[in-house]
Symmetry: C2
């Protein structure tokens, strides 16, 4: 992932309404939620909701599928995964910088964990 793309994803999540929408969908799992259900939960006017849903869709953080008159939206976990991998790649130079995340050394992880074992998540030696 490139910096510009990552910045677009982060900017998309950097708005309270959009972040709320995304968190709802992350918690909803692969089944997702209908747009109308999201709007009710967050109390957003339809045009405002639509604006934010299309923003999140455009950057690839969520995906919508039409079902008769409704649209079912779901989180794109893979996009979030890549974003977090980008944020934490080459982090902290081997220190245990992210105890809650255990996401250090994600470049090595991306390479199927074959090489260069990470010391992240352990106490610094």
């Amino acid at each position: 992932m490139e910096t510009l793309n990552a910045a677009e994803l982060l900017a998309a999540l950097g708005h309270e309404s959009r972040l709320s929408i995304f968190r709802l969908l992350v918690e909803a799992g692969t089944e997702g939620l209908f747009a109308s259900a999201i709007g009710e939960k967050l109390g957003l006017p339809a045009p405002t909701l639509s604006f934010h849903l299309s923003h999140l869709t455009r950057v690839g953080l969520i995906r919508g599928q039409k079902e008769s008159r409704f649209i079912r939206y779901a989180a794109e976990y893979a996009t979030m995964d890549e974003l977090i991998a980008f944020l934490t790649s080459n982090c902290c130079q081997g220190e245990a910088c992210l105890p809650k995340t255990s996401a250090c050394d994600t470049i090595a992880k991306r390479r199927k964990l074959g090489d260069s074992p990470s010391s992240c998540g352990k106490e610094p030696s």
Copy 2:
């Protein structure tokens, strides 16, 4: 972490220059970098750099310490860690949604891994 606070952090990172600054500092480790070194690497005019550094500082993603005429900036890993924990909390309902991150079920992790073992990171059963 609350949604509003998380959105502020994400918005701070949702700008190409600020994300570049933050990534530089994440890679630099606890030693950090002087402001002038960041400016040189990114080719930003001093007022623009200062604007973004103070934004990142204000939300708590970086921290600056004066050393004679210079200011040494470093990433606040704990803030990023909490942000990622927020983004991934209660995610994916037990599916392996974040293979690169292995950051699922961070609420349980936050509670010192004592209770409710997570199925995240494994294949869905």
